[in-house]
């Protein structure tokens, strides 16, 4: 399914926790049809930014617009139909079965779409994440990786224009990380907007069309992975010495090699 183009415009965003500015002077324009990775050290404000974009947190200053309309003025249910959000450590309060959990992603559409449409969307999401075979298993019987895939299926079931995911690859083995990354890329290729936070620099470079690097609540670099993840930026932001490695034959994707902590002096 191909979606129409959509744009998030973030202007002068400032978020305070107590008197401390967790986010400050954030100006961003996010386009659908691409994957944007938000990077930065712990406490840089990545999750806060994602939560503000998902309207789960109210900024102290600034505004976020979706296709020219302020998020504050969009009713919560309509917003939820367009923006799906997956938290870093999502809670699952009851030991429901996998199909039930995935079906929760259709809650914003309750009464708007037919049961048949809902069932079809749930089936598509389960197929895409390859969790159909666990439909009747309860969530407590799943491993961490399996649970992450099911939660991703829940997010996909909404078939929303935007998918915001906070560290979606945590707990996944390399194979499933790759699989989940491919899945998010396919959402973007079909016209959806994907914004994710991530710590793995190489994976971010491979999956993202655009990388936004935060440090102490401010954007310090923004652009294509090669342009944003420069050794200088990585040194300033993470205190690490790192460089891009490219295969001379061009057969393997570029990798960011971390040599160690920043040399003093």
């Amino acid at each position: 399914m191909t979606r129409s183009a959509s744009t998030f415009t973030i202007r002068g965003l400032r978020f305070l926790r107590g008197s401390r500015a967790v986010l400050d002077s954030i100006d961003l324009q996010l386009q659908s049809g691409s994957v944007t990775a938000v990077l930065g050290p712990n406490g840089a404000g990545k999750s806060t930014l994602l939560s503000c974009v998902a309207s789960l947190l109210t900024p102290a200053q600034g505004d976020i617009e979706l296709d020219g309309v302020s998020l504050r003025t969009i009713p919560a249910t309509q917003r939820a139909r367009r923006i799906a959000f997956l938290a870093q450590t999502p809670e699952i309060a009851w030991d429901v079965d996998v199909e039930t959990l995935v079906s929760l992603g259709r809650i914003p559409f309750h009464g708007v779409t037919s049961d048949a449409e809902d069932r079809a969307a749930i089936a598509r999401a389960m197929e895409r994440t390859q969790v159909t075979q666990w439909a009747t298993r309860t969530v407590t019987t799943l491993s961490g990786g399996e649970r992450a895939r099911v939660l991703l299926a829940r997010v996909l079931a909404g078939e929303s224009d935007w998918i915001l995911v906070d560290e979606p690859f945590t707990g996944l083995d390399p194979s499933h990380q790759f699989e989940a990354a491919e899945l998010l890329r396919s959402v973007a290729e079909q016209g959806g907007g994907v914004v994710l936070t991530i710590h793995d620099l190489t994976l971010a470079a491979r999956i993202a069309d655009r990388v936004v690097i935060l440090n102490q609540g401010r954007i310090v670099a923004d652009g294509a992975p090669r342009a944003a993840l420069t050794p200088e930026v990585l040194r300033d932001v993470y205190d690490i010495e790192a460089q891009w490695l490219s295969d001379p034959n061009g057969t393997t994707p570029p990798t960011i090699a971390i040599h160690g902590r920043k040399r003093v002096g």
């Binding site: 959000f85 699952i92 079965d97 039930t100 079906s103 829940r154």
Partner: protein, 325 residues
């Protein structure tokens, strides 16, 4: 998703059988012939005693089962229930205060409404004390505080009661039951309870979304403030309305959702209707047991429910001990 479509019809048949038994069984056993009989005594037993008692049993049981399932879903806690968390006691306090201050007699609606105000206040205090993301321990302790406060208020009202009639009426709230309730009491409580049930059922989608926690529910477009108020109103109406007529009947909302989860799954929205039907069946069964027990006078229903419910609560708490430590 209900995987067993036979559950609700089976529960309905069970509740139907128990309703018939509730009408038939007692010190005088009624037969089918009573519907067409001209015998004044039998007809009086049927119309004045058994029918209102059975209907009240269905109404109170169903609404308490529903309230328990909704509270567990909202607080995401399997130990939540109006009785164990002090909501019933707060409703009883509201009703008792209306007797104590001698305003209950002014209009038949005053006592149930005071019960509703007590129940709603209890819900709000509980939400403030425990928060929406309360641990089992915080929730149980909050309920204990609320219960202790309400019972202390009732005891105080009992000690200072202005007349023996008031003291006698107050004792009735402490021992809940369906005995000797007529259509007058039923018509006072039914509208409140039914409106409460509609309000609670209206939260079904929000309760489902809360499976994903508060953040998950909000990301799905759920207005949690509205849900909180709607549930406080709904549960306040249910518990207040039923307590005003039957006194405090505890543990129905605790036991029933647990019995239903293996049958219909753990999705809170899917548990509501089966819990309501099973709640009606449980209260009817308890009320039949009350009448079948040997002895000169009937045991109050609340005593039977507590005798069954308290060990059930203990077993549940024991099975959840790992979460508590």
């Amino acid at each position: 998703m209900t995987k067993r479509p036979w559950v609700i019809p089976s529960l309905l048949i069970l509740a139907g059988i128990l309703t018939v038994l509730s009408i038939a069984i007692g010190r005088v056993t009624l037969t089918w012939g009573v519907w067409s009989a001209q015998d004044a005594v039998s007809r009086a037993i049927l119309v004045e005693l058994r029918l209102p008692r059975a209907i009240l049993g269905v109404l109170v049981g169903a609404s308490l089962g529903l309230a328990g399932a909704a509270m567990q879903g909202y607080l995401r806690n399997a130990l939540a229930e109006p009785g164990t968390l002090g909501i019933s006691a707060m409703s009883a306090l509201g009703a008792v205060l209306s007797i104590f201050f001698n305003i209950a007699g002014l209009h038949p609606w005053i006592l149930p409404i005071c019960g509703v105000i007590g129940g709603m206040s209890g819900m709000m205090v509980l939400f403030v004390l425990s928060g929406r993301t309360a641990s089992v321990l915080t929730l149980v302790l909050s309920g204990m505080i609320l219960s202790a406060l309400a019972i202390a208020g009732i005891s105080l009202a009992l000690s200072l009661s202005p007349s023996p009639w008031a003291a006698g009426e107050i004792v009735r709230w402490m021992l809940g039951g369906l005995t000797d309730r007529g259509f007058d009491e039923l018509s006072n409580a039914a509208p409140l309870i039914l409106i409460g049930c509609v309000a609670v059922l209206g939260c079904r989608r929000s309760l489902d979304a809360l499976t994903l926690g508060e953040t998950g529910a909000r990301s799905l477009g759920i207005d949690l403030n509205r849900t909180q108020w709607q549930l406080a109103l709904g549960i306040g109406l249910i518990v207040g309305g039923s307590t005003a007529v039957t006194g405090m009947i505890g543990f129905v909302g605790l036991i029933v959702p647990h019995l239903m989860r293996p049958l219909v799954g753990s999705r809170p929205g899917a548990l509501l209707i089966p819990s309501a039907i099973a709640g009606a069946a449980l209260v009817l069964a308890g009320d039949i047991v009350v009448r079948l027990l040997p002895g000169g006078s009937e045991l109050e229903l609340a005593v039977v429910m507590s005798l069954v419910g308290a060990p059930f609560f203990f077993v549940l708490l024991h099975s959840m001990r790992r979460k508590l430590t």
